[in-house]
Amino acid sequence: MNIREIMKNGLWDQNIVFAQVLGMCPTMAVTTSGTNGLGMGLATTAVLVGSNMIISSIRNFVSPQVRIPVYIVLIATLVTIVDMVLNAWMHDLYRVLGLFIALIVVNCAVLGRAESFASKSGIVASAFDGLFMGLGFTLALTAIGLIRELIGMGTLFSQASLLLGPKFAFLEMTVIPNYGGVLMMILPPAGFLVLGLMLAVKRFYELRAAAKETAKTTASPTPLAEGAIGCH
């Protein structure tokens, strides 16, 4: 599998949120603002790259019967070590990201990539897969977060300078001043609502593209996304 394909899969075709619908727990929990979505996405990307590389490097030694507990132990260990290292030596970053790091353990997209990609591919390919899957996740979370933030609070990227440093203060925008806010958009139900609408839009375009294709060549319909592992 070449890097171009890995990139396309991660960002769009097999996007963790929009195609595989994995990692719903952190998705619903943190997408109350664009900044939160971005922070969670970046932290997850780092863990995905690390876990994919570790699991790819031991893939030949792990027997299929015990692979799931092995992956879970490795991912949990990695996340815990990242948590401790950030806390000890990058404390300013930890104060902002600390909230997200513990949540990454419950993101089954990390386990999903270990199972469906890293355990079957080389280290370099796995690292790229982790990177682009993570970026696709970041993109999705930031998009959902921005929509909820805009409608819910009338701002975009509020408190971005806390996450990215004072240089990024220009990202913080108040789009609608003196906005009363729509509380429901910040509460969990709106997470499902916005995600559902975005999935519908994505499917609409895919189906339309497929219909055009069929009209041209009467080829087989586009295959659905890979079967997701049943968890939240």
Binding site: S33, N60, V62, S63, T77, N87, A88
Partner: protein
């Protein structure tokens, strides 16, 4: 490879490999724990120092608060560490932690009082409230926490120590009443605790640097 494939299917290989992975990860974890312990303790101490200086106005005391502590048991028998600020040897302020249950777990508030029991400042130092909703209790996200400054049990009657929804003077947030309610409760508890143990807190000999 074929030899490894054969080996992988043997019964002894699976528990053994699982055991080895567990051993390796435990070793990695304890190593990481050991090497980060000092850093984390330092970072937490720095955090505490920053918070301590935030709840007292600049130049309030002239001593090192971290080195002038007393431990007093509250009414439930729980020990509270109190940091004392002194000016020219006399205690002119105290800082301690107080907590109440919020929407998700305990909210820990650090409060600073002058010796008479008037609020000098408060900061939430630990909470797990909903991001975007309940986290307006953080000073980085809202000015709300400054509302406590200057208030005391004397200038604000007990029934007014509540959010506006409950007939008090403190704002609640849109969509999050439980969180500010818990913070107000924690601060009020802290003031009650100070009022009940004032003599003890002011006169006890210092116990030195906090653990």
């Amino acid at each position: 490879m074929s030899k490894l494939d054969e080996l992988r299917d043997r019964l002894f290989y699976q528990p053994l490999s699982l055991g080895l992975i567990a051993l390796a990860t435990s070793a990695a974890l304890s190593f990481a724990n050991q090497s980060t312990q000092e850093g984390i303790a330092d970072a937490e101490k720095r955090d505490l120092q920053t918070s301590l200086s935030e709840v007292l106005p600049a130049g309030h005391g002239d001593n090192d608060l971290l080195k002038d502590t007393v431990t007093v048991a509250d009414n439930d028998g729980k020990e509270v560490t109190i940091y004392r600020s002194r000016k020219a040897g006399t205690v002119n302020g105290v800082v301690f932690k107080t907590a109440a249950r919020g929407y998700a777990g305990d909210i820990v508030v650090l409060i600073g009082l002058d010796e008479k029991g008037t609020m000098l400042g408060a900061r939430v130092i630990k909470h797990q409230e909903t991001p975007g909703l309940g986290d307006k209790i953080e000073v980085a996200k809202s000015k709300w926490i400054h509302d406590f400054e200057g208030k005391s049990l004397d200038n604000l009657p007990a029934e007014k120590w509540a959010v506006k929804k409950d007939g008090g003077v403190f704002d609640q947030f849109a969509g999050a009443t439980i969180t500010p309610r818990a913070v107000v409760k924690a601060v009020k508890q802290g003031l009650d605790f100070y009022a009940g143990h004032r003599e003890e807190i002011l006169s006890a000999p210092t116990q030195g640097e906090a653990k």
